[in-house]
């Protein structure tokens, strides 16, 4: 199999299929390493890749791609690669409140905060 570095968005689909594709995260960088592996999985990998980055062919022994991760604008934790976010943003309608800047944990907190708002206004006077 071959990986197109420009197309790959750094998601987890291929690593979930093949054990010879490993994924790791450190200091806001996600690294995906493609080791040489059983070519019989290539068909499945091509099918599973959301970005069309995998094709059949022969490639070097092992390559590692690195992706900068998006840090949550509230808590600062990295939660997805920047390319994943771009990819998602291209598939959903443009939005005014950019929830894509928040990690899922902070999205939940934001939902809670906005829902609690009027309860707190009422209860704040008790």
């Amino acid at each position: 199999m071959k990986v197109d570095e420009r197309r790959c968005i750094g998601c987890r689909a291929c690593s979930a299929i093949s054990r010879s594709i490993s994924i790791s995260e450190d200091a806001g960088i996600r690294s995906i390493t493609f080791h040489s592996h059983d070519e019989s999985l290539t068909e499945r990998l091509i099918e599973a890749c959301p970005a069309g980055a995998i094709s059949s062919g022969i490639t070097a022994e092992s390559i590692t791609l690195t992706f900068r991760m998006k840090r949550c604008s509230v808590c600062g934790e990295p939660f997805a690669t920047e390319r994943e976010i771009e990819h998602v943003a291209s598939l959903i309608p443009e939005t005014h409140k950019n929830w894509l800047d928040l990690c899922p944990e902070c999205r939940r907190a934001e939902q809670r905060r906005s829902h609690a708002w009027h309860c707190i206004r009422i209860r704040g006077r008790v």
Partner: protein, 168 residues
């Protein structure tokens, strides 16, 4: 800031407002054709049998509107100048969070487009269609200061407290 004031004591339940609203928001802007377009409601005349009254229910464009606060995508926004709560159908994801927090129950569901639907206070008109159509002036449109009893059109919070107080 202008508001639509509802005066239920004048409402005769003729539903002219509902029809005018439907026509205004139809493609054709024609009564008969509008009906065939299966318009989605933005305004609801509710009958209250205990008091033999009809009450036109429509978005009050609350100050600090809860629907705007909870909308996760920013499809609902409030105009700083006019106070109108606008809904952007292109951004709406149909999660119904807004509908569930609305104290008046006036955010509906457009089942075809699978998004929310609510009063936009007729941006193309000087006076909203429902107000123009009301034969008894149960709906009036004017500056907040002008309509002295506009307290009834106060934000959802005050209304919620009113629910508690009046049920006592």
């Amino acid at each position: 800031m202008k508001e639509i004031l509802v005066r239920p004591e004048r409402c005769v339940g003729c539903r002219s407002c509902e029809i005018a609203c439907a026509v205004e928001h139809s493609q054709s802007r024609d009564l008969l054709k509008a009906l065939s377009e299966m318009p989605q409601r933005r305004l609801y005349v509710e009958h209250v049998p205990e008091y033999s009254l009809a009450v036109p229910m429509l978005c009050r464009h609350c100050e600090d509107a809860p629907c705007v606060a909870v909308c996760p995508t920013g499809a609902l926004t409030q105009d700083a100048l006019t106070g109108v709560v606008r809904h952007n159908r292109d951004i709406c994801i149909g999660c119904w969070t807004c509908a569930s927090v609305c104290t008046y129950g006036v955010i509906g569901r457009d089942r075809r487009a699978r998004v929310a639907i609510k009063c936009d206070r007729c941006p193309d008109r000087e006076v909203p269609a429902c107000v123009s159509a009301c034969p008894t002036r149960a709906l009036i449109y004017g500056e907040v200061e002008e309509v002295s009893r506009a307290r009834r059109a106060a934000p959802a919070l005050k209304f919620a407290q009113g629910v508690a107080a009046s049920s006592r």
